[in-house]
């Protein structure tokens, strides 16, 4: 039916009383996400929108509400700690929306997650949405539609663009996942491809990459080796100059490595149908699935 989140998702929102956290907690509730708890130290005992109980710690939130997924909207200075806290408290799927976590902090966060068996989506990502069931993060719900195409992307608004193309052309999505544009992230393309491959309700996969690093190349190899479902791909940044960071901390061509063309080449060699333009997604999905 989906990957990572579904109608059984019971969400705790870390930073629920902050500017971003409160806005998106409202949006998620409006979409139908089961937001069971919020966390803001010092506001334990209060309620969000008169309904959702707020706790001082994630541990207390889990104990009282059985929350099983966390969404993090706290400021950058506290975001890594929020991930540590969620994982230590036993949350197995943690979505970190916050941008600006130092990469050295991430080198400590990632092994901690591994030790606790927890999965992190992000940081600096738009989150995930399983249309009609649950939205965790900031992906606009109205552009999505339930269906059988899995979408995974390093980008935010570019994902919306592609998902919107699918939706307005009647192609629904199983789950849309934004993995984030930072150099070190908790969940990569391969993790999502594997999950989509194993999800009986996903029939085709769209993956949207960009310049920088080698995740797309490794994902291409994974597609060749392990993915039997059709995959349609896009790589942003063909016109990006080397050595300059394109907004995302991870979107940078180092020396001559991490270019869009090498990534597109790898995807093509793995049998992925590569789009020239975002709008091509519709035709390619129809053609290949």
């Amino acid at each position: 039916m989906s990957i990572f989140i579904d109608k059984n998702t019971k969400l705790v929102v870390q930073g629920i009383t902050g500017r971003d956290g409160s806005f998106h907690a409202s949006q998620m509730r409006e979409y139908g996400t089961n937001v069971v708890a919020g966390v803001t130290p010092g506001k334990g005992g209060q309620r969000f929108e008169d309904e959702v109980p707020i706790f001082n710690t994630v541990g207390e939130a889990i104990e009282s509400t059985g929350a099983n997924v966390a969404a993090i909207y706290v400021p950058a200075a506290f975001a890594a700690d929020a991930v540590f806290e969620a994982a230590a408290a036993g949350i197995m799927f943690i979505v970190c929306i916050t941008e600006g976590i130092p990469v050295l902090e991430m080198t400590r966060v990632l092994p901690f997650l591994k030790e606790h068996g927890a999965r992190l989506l992000g940081p600096n990502c738009p989150g995930a949405i399983t249309p009609g069931e649950s939205k965790v993060g900031i992906i606009p719900g109205q552009i999505c539609k339930a269906g059988n195409v899995g979408v995974v992307s390093r980008s935010g608004t570019l994902t919306y663009e592609v998902v919107n193309q699918l939706t307005v052309n009647g192609i629904g999505q199983s789950t849309c996942v934004g993995i984030g544009g930072d150099p070190l992230i908790g969940t990569n393309f391969i993790d999502c491809l594997e999950a989509f491959q194993n999800d009986p309700h996903t029939d085709a996969i769209v993956m949207i990459g960009e310049i920088g690093g080698t995740d797309e190349q490794k994902a291409a190899q994974f597609v060749a080796d392990k993915v039997s479902k059709p995959v349609v791909g896009f790589i942003a940044g063909q016109t990006a100059p080397p050595g300059r960071r394109m907004g995302h901390a991870g979107a940078i061509i180092s020396g001559s490595s991490g270019t869009a063309s090498e990534k597109m080449q790898a995807l093509k060699e793995a049998g992925v149908a590569v789009m020239s333009r975002p709008a091509d997604v519709v035709e390619l999905i129809k053609e290949h699935s």
């Binding site: 092994p111 942003a236 940044g237």
Partner: protein, 381 residues
């Protein structure tokens, strides 16, 4: 954030790494004074302090046998332009007596998701060339940041650089200290090239390069204070201060987009339709109208720009806020080029109304908008 060599040298010294006494100067007179103070029998080297590689090839690095020659080199180097960056400062360092030149760096490795220490006996040259031609000469060790660099790790790396145990121990200490500096300043790169040994058996750092992770700066004001705004592109400085992400390119279609991925895809689509993007510009997630005004100012300050394209997919970004910003901007100053606006998503309808009221048209389709912006290059606004 890139640090200048002279700044990086100070950080290494503060971290206990042996670095020859050197100093930075902004005038030939200062250069002569420093050369007299730090130069020994071997003379000094005068090095342009700019944030780019290839300083040597560009004539920005010169050897001088004495203070007078250093002064005359400084007169040539100060004020010169290397890859578009003006040289305002030079480093004056003694020329050391060198037996061997090695390479040492700590980087963040995306593959292992850890800091990695790289060492090579092939130092003093461009490591990218070594990596391409003779990769077997480079040794890498991923460090577990939960434990930090361990003594035996530093030793095993040092054994890759030297055979004599006295040099090995010095190198191991420098490796551990460089790792400490790397984490202390929140670097994404800390490099010593060359890490030299002298004929009398000392190991020391003759050059230093440090790049700091921008996300570390908020909690490290002392490092942030090292930022040299004069060494950066003024438009990029202005963009960063406004919370925008801007990179100047060589084309003529100015792009203003929300989101880095969409911004790159927009640039690519400009190219796809036969145009050339003038810039990467991401206004970010928030939709403060003031940011839009600043973005338009930066784009229009680029004289190459011949048409301006907005591509906004509203999520958190509210299209009406962007529309308000556009309207305010064109009221505030003359854009002077055709403007193509594509808006869709959150508050799209309100945005269209705001724009139409101001006599502007909004498109809903990305391809259509990009095509139009490319076509309008060269037309009068």
């Amino acid at each position: 954030m890139n640090l200048h060599e002279y700044q990086a040298r100070v950080l290494l010294r503060d971290g206990g790494i042996p670095v020859p006494e050197a100093d930075v100067a902004v005038s030939p007179e200062e250069v002569a004074e420093i050369a007299g103070r730090v130069g020994g029998d071997g003379g000094v080297v005068v090095k342009a302090q700019v944030h780019t590689g290839g300083r040597g090839k560009a004539g920005g690095v010169k050897l001088a046998k004495d203070a007078e020659e250093a002064r005359s080199h400084a007169e040539a180097i100060l004020g010169m332009t290397i890859k578009g960056l003006r040289v305002d400062k030079v480093l004056v360092a003694p020329i050391a007596d060198i037996a061997t030149e090695s390479y040492l760096a700590v980087i963040i490795d995306r593959e292992s998701q850890r800091p990695v220490v790289m060492v090579s006996r092939a130092g003093g040259v461009d490591i990218e060339e070594v990596a391409a031609a003779t990769p077997e000469k480079i040794f890498r060790l991923a460090i577990d940041p939960r434990y930090g660099i361990l003594q035996h790790e530093a030793m095993s790396l040092a054994f890759k650089l030297f055979d004599d145990i006295k040099l090995v121990r010095q190198a191991a200490a420098i490796i551990s200290k460089l790792y400490a500096v790397f984490t202390h300043v929140g670097a994404s790169l800390a490099e010593i090239n060359p890490l030299a040994s002298t004929p009398d058996g000392a190991v020391l750092a003759l050059d230093a390069k440090i790049v700091v992770d921008d996300n570390e700066l908020d909690r490290r004001p002392a490092i942030e204070a090292l930022r040299d705004l004069s060494a950066e592109d003024p438009a990029e400085v202005e963009a960063r201060e406004a919370g925008l992400s801007y990179v100047k390119l060589e084309g003529n279609v100015g792009c203003c987009v929300n989101g880095a991925g969409l911004a790159m895809a927009t640039m690519d689509l400009v190219k796809y339709y036969g145009g050339e993007p003038a810039n990467f510009l991401d206004i970010g997630g928030s939709s403060n109208p003031q940011k839009v005004i600043t973005a338009l100012k930066i784009i229009s300050a680029d004289s190459n720009v011949q048409s301006v394209l907005f591509n906004i997919f509203g999520g958190i970004t509210r299209c009406d806020d962007v529309a308000k910003g556009i309207v305010a901007a064109i009221e505030e100053f003359e854009l002077g080029r055709p403007l193509v606006i594509r808006l869709t998503g959150t508050n799209e309808r309100e945005a269209v109304q705001i724009l139409e009221k101001a006599g502007l048209t909004a498109l809903l389709d990305m391809d259509e908008a990009v095509q139009k912006a490319v076509e309008m290059v060269g037309e009068v606004a």
